[in-house]
C-alpha cells in the first residue's frame, strides 16, 4: 500500500479540546490492551500456551483475531484514502485481499492445523530434514514479518503524528519507540493468548467504528448508492472516469502487466503469510480452523465493502483537490476527516468525538498488527532456529520460551532501530513485497509438501530461497527502489532494470519452478516415506496436536 507515508503532518486535531479527547482514548486503548496482556500472562504455562494460545480459541474468536491481524492501518486508512483520491482503482487491492482467503480456506488452513504445531516450518519439517528446511522457513518467515513490521511501524509514526496534529520528527520517533515498546510487552508477557485478545478487541473496535461511519455516510445520501457515486464523481473533478478503472493502474502495457502481477501476489500471498498461518494453530481442531476462515472472510469482506462507502463518501463530502489535507496525506486522513464531517463537521462536539474515536481505532489497529508480526518472528526464531538448528541438544520447553521472549525483545529493538531512520524513505512498497515473498517462497513449499509426494528437502530449500531471493532481487532493481524520481525509495540514483514494481508475475512461477528443480536435482527420496503419514494426518486430523487442558 503506497499510502501510508505522509510527507507532512497536518493540524487535524489541533484544537486543544480535541487533542485531549484523542489522547484520552489512545490511553484507554493502551490501558485495556495492557490489562489483557497481564491477564493472559497468568494463564501462560506451556509452550502450546505461549505459541498457540493453548489451542483453545473458538472458530469465531479466532476468526475475529485473524481479521484483526489482517486488516492493518494500511487497509483501514489506505484503501479508503486511495478510493477517495483515485476512485474505482482504489478498490482493487481489497478484492485481491479478499479472494485470497479462498486459497487459505480450501488448500491450506485445515491441513496446516492438522499437520503442524507452532510455526510454518513445523509443517515442512514433518517429512524433511529438520535443519535445512527449518533454517530456510525461518529465514523467510522472519524476512516477510520484518518487511511487514517495518512498513507498519514507519506508518505508525506518521499516522499518530497526523492524528494528534504534531509535526516534530522527534515526536514521531517517540511514537515509534512507544509502539515498539508496547508490542514487545504484549508479546513477551502475553504470548499468543494476549496477542490474540488484543487482535479480537481491535477487530471489534474497527468493525464498530467502520459500521457507524458507513451508516452516517449512507444516511447523508438516503441510502442511494448511485447518488453517492454520482456526487463523488462530480466532486472529484474527474467525472465518470472516477468510477471506472484506469486512474491508478494499467496506463500502458507495462502498467497493465504490473497490475496483473500485483493481482497475483495479492491473491496468492495471503495463504503464505506466516503471521496468518500460525493463527490456525490457536484452535482445537481443523473444523474450528475452517470456521475461523469463514468468519474471517465474512468480517474482512464486509469491512472492505464498507471501505467503498467510506472512500466514495470522502470523495463526495471532503475537499480532495490538490493541496487539500486528504491529497497531501496520500489519502490517509480521508477516513478520520470523513468521521468528523459526518459527525457534524469541524468544531462540533459530534465531529470531535467521532474523529477521536476513529483515531483511537487506527491506533489499536497498528498495535494489534505489529504484535502479531513480532510474535510470529520470535516464535520462528526460538522454535525453528534455536531449538532445532542451533542447539546441540534439544532445549527444555522453559529454555525455548525464554529464548522466544528474548527474541521478541530483539526483533522489536531491530524494528524500532530500522523504522526511525526509515521515516523519511518511501518504504510503503514493503507490504506489497511481503505478499510477493509469501506467494513466491512460502506458498509453493507449503502446497508441494501437502500435495506432491516426490517433494523433498532440497526441493523445499530451493523453492523457499529461490522464491525469496527472486522477489527481493527483482524489487531492488525495480522502479520502486530507484529510477522513478521522487516516487522511488532512493531518489539520487538509477540502477533499475526490472520494469515492474511488483515482482509476483515472475517470482511466483520461479518459486514453483525452483521447487521442482530442487526436488529432481536433490534426488533424495526419503521424504516419500512419511508422505502417507502426512496426508493421513492433514486430512483426518489423526495424531494432530490437541487443545491444552488446564
Amino acid at each position: 500500500m503506497n499510502a501510508l507515508l505522509v510527507p507532512l503532518a497536518l493540524p487535524l486535531a489541533a484544537e486543544p479540546g480535541n487533542r485531549t479527547l484523542t489522547i484520552s482514548l489512545f490511553t484507554a486503548v493502551v490501558a485495556v490492551t495492557l490489562y489483557i496482556t497481564w491477564w493472559a500472562s497468568r494463564q501462560n504455562k506451556t509452550a502450546a500456551d505461549y505459541y498457540a494460545g493453548g489451542r483453545s480459541f473458538s472458530g469465531a474468536q479466532n476468526g475475529l483475531a485473524v481479521a484483526g491481524d489482517y486488516m492493518s492501518a494500511a487497509s483501514f486508512l489506505g484503501i479508503s484514502g486511495q478510493i477517495a483520491l483515485y476512485g474505482y482503482d482504489g478498490f482493487l487491492y481489497s478484492i485481491g485481499f479478499l479472494v485470497a482467503w479462498l486459497v487459505a480456506l480450501l488448500l491450506v488452513a485445515e491441513l496446516l492445523r492438522n499437520s503442524g504445531r507452532f510455526t510454518m516450518a513445523d509443517q515442512l519439517a514433518f517429512r524433511m530434514k529438520q535443519k535445512p528446511v527449518r533454517t530456510a522457513a525461518a529465514t523467510s518467515t522472519i524476512v516477510v514479518s520484518i518487511f511487514y513490521l517495518l512498513a507498519q511501524m514507519v506508518g505508525a509514526g506518521s499516522l499518530v503524528g497526523l492524528l494528534l496534529g504534531v509535526k516534530s520528527e522527534g515526536l514521531k520517533a517517540a511514537v515509534i519507540v512507544l509502539v515498539g515498546a508496547l508490542m514487545i510487552v504484549y508479546v513477551t508477557i502475553g504470548g499468543m493468548k494476549g496477542t490474540t485478545w488484543v487482535q479480537i478487541v481491535k477487530a471489534v473496535l474497527l468493525m464498530t467504528g467502520t459500521v457507524v461511519i458507513t451508516f452516517l455516510v449512507l444516511l447523508k445520501f438516503h441510502f442511494n448508492i448511485s447518488d453517492l457515486l454520482g456526487s463523488a464523481a462530480g466532486k472529484s473533478g474527474k467525472g465518470e472516469d472516477f468510477l471506472q478503472p484506469g486512474l491508478l493502474y494499467g496506463k500502458d502495457l507495462t502498467g497493465q502487466i504490473d497490475f496483473l502481477s500485483l493481482g497475483l501476489a495479492l491473491v496468492l500471498g495471503t495463504a503464505g503469510l506466516p503471521h496468518i498461518l500460525i493463527r490456525f494453530y490457536t484452535v482445537p481442531d481443523s473444523r474450528a480452523a475452517r470456521r475461523s476462515v469463514q468468519w474471517a472472510i465474512g468480517l474482512i469482506g464486509v469491512f472492505y465493502l464498507m471501505t467503498l462507502a467510506l472512500g466514495f463518501g470522502a470523495a463526495a463530502l471532503l475537499n480532495t483537490a490538490k493541496g487539500s489535507a486528504v491529497e497531501t496525506s496520500k489519502g490517509n486522513v480521508a477516513s478520520p476527516l470523513l468521521a468528523e464531517a459526518v459527525g457534524g463537521g469541524a468544531g462540533s462536539t459530534g465531529g470531535a468525538i467521532l474523529l477521536a474515536l476513529i483515531a483511537a481505532v487506527a491506533f489499536a489497529t497498528i498495535l494489534a498488527v505489529v504484535a502479531g508480526l513480532t510474535l510470529t518472528s520470535a516464535s520462528s526464531f526460538a522454535h525453528d532456529l534455536y531449538a532445532n538448528v542451533m542447539s546441540k541438544e534439544k532445549p527444555t520447553e522453559k529454555q525455548e520460551l525464554r529464548v522466544a521472549r528474548f527474541a521478541a525483545i530483539g526483533i522489536g529493538a531491530v524494528a524500532i532501530g530500522l523504522a526511525i531512520p526509515a521515516q523519511k524513505l518511501n518504504i510503503a512498497f514493503l507490504v506489497a513485497l511481503a505478499f510477493a515473498v509469501a506467494a513466491s517462497a512460502n506458498l509453493p513449499a507449503l502446497l508441494f509438501n501437502l500435495f506432491w509426494k516426490r517433494f523433498n528437502t532440497s526441493g523445499a530449500v530451493w523453492s523457499i530461497y529461490g522464491g525469496l531471493i527472486s522477489a527481493v532481487v527483482l524489487v531492488v532493481f525495480s522502479p520502486v527502489v530507484s529510477g522513478n524520481g521522487e516516487k522511488s525509495m532512493i531518489t539520487g540514483a538509477d540502477f533499475h532494470w526490472f520494469p515492474l514494481s511488483n515482482p509476483g508475475i515472475v517470482s511466483i512461477p520461479l518459486g514453483f519452478l525452483f521447487g521442482v528443480l530442487g526436488t529432481y536435482l536433490g534426488r533424495d527420496r526419503s521424504s516419500e516415506n512419511r508422505y502417507s503419514e502426512l496426508s493421513v494426518r492433514a486430512l483426518t486430523g489423526a495424531g494432530a496436536e490437541g487443545a491444552a487442558k488446564h
Binding site: V99, W101, L106, E240, G263, R290, T540
Partner: protein
C-alpha cells in the same frame, strides 16, 4: 515406552489408515471439490483483473441511467462469489468430509492401541 517403539507403532497405525478404503474416498472427495473450485475462482478473479486492464469499454458500461457501472458490479460479484464458495465449502466439508475424517481418526486411535 521407548521412543523408537512409539514411532513404529504410530507409523503402522498411519499406514493402516492410509490403506483404508474410507481414506481413499476422503481424498477423492476432497480433491474433487477443491481442484475444480480453485480453478474456477482463480479464473474468475483473473478474468476480473484482466477486464480492468484490457476490457475497459465493457467495464465502463453504465447500468440504466445510474452511476453504477459494470466494473463496480463485477467487483462486487467477486465478493459474492467469495462468500458463496466459502459457504459451499463449509457445507460440503461438514457433510461429506468430517464424518469420514472422524471415522478414520477413531480407526487411527484403535490401531495405535493394538
Amino acid at each position: 515406552m521407548d521412543e523408537e517403539v512409539v514411532r513404529e507403532r504410530d507409523a503402522r497405525a498411519y499406514e493402516a489408515v492410509h490403506d483404508a478404503a474410507d481414506f481413499k474416498e476422503l481424498k477423492r472427495r476432497y480433491k474433487n471439490f477443491v481442484v475444480p473450485w480453485t480453478i474456477a475462482f482463480m479464473a474468475w478473479y483473473l478474468a476480473y483483473v484482466a477486464c480492468n486492464n484490457w476490457a475497459r469499454g465493457f467495464m465502463d458500461h453504465r447500468l440504466g441511467g445510474s452511476h453504477i457501472n459494470v466494473a463496480l458490479i463485477f467487483g462486487l460479484l467477486q465478493f459474492v462469489s467469495t462468500f458463496v464458495i466459502a459457504a459451499l465449502y463449509g457445507r460440503f466439508a461438514n457433510r461429506k468430509l468430517d464424518p469420514l475424517a472422524h471415522g478414520l481418526n477413531a480407526k487411527y486411535k484403535r490401531e495405535r492401541r493394538r
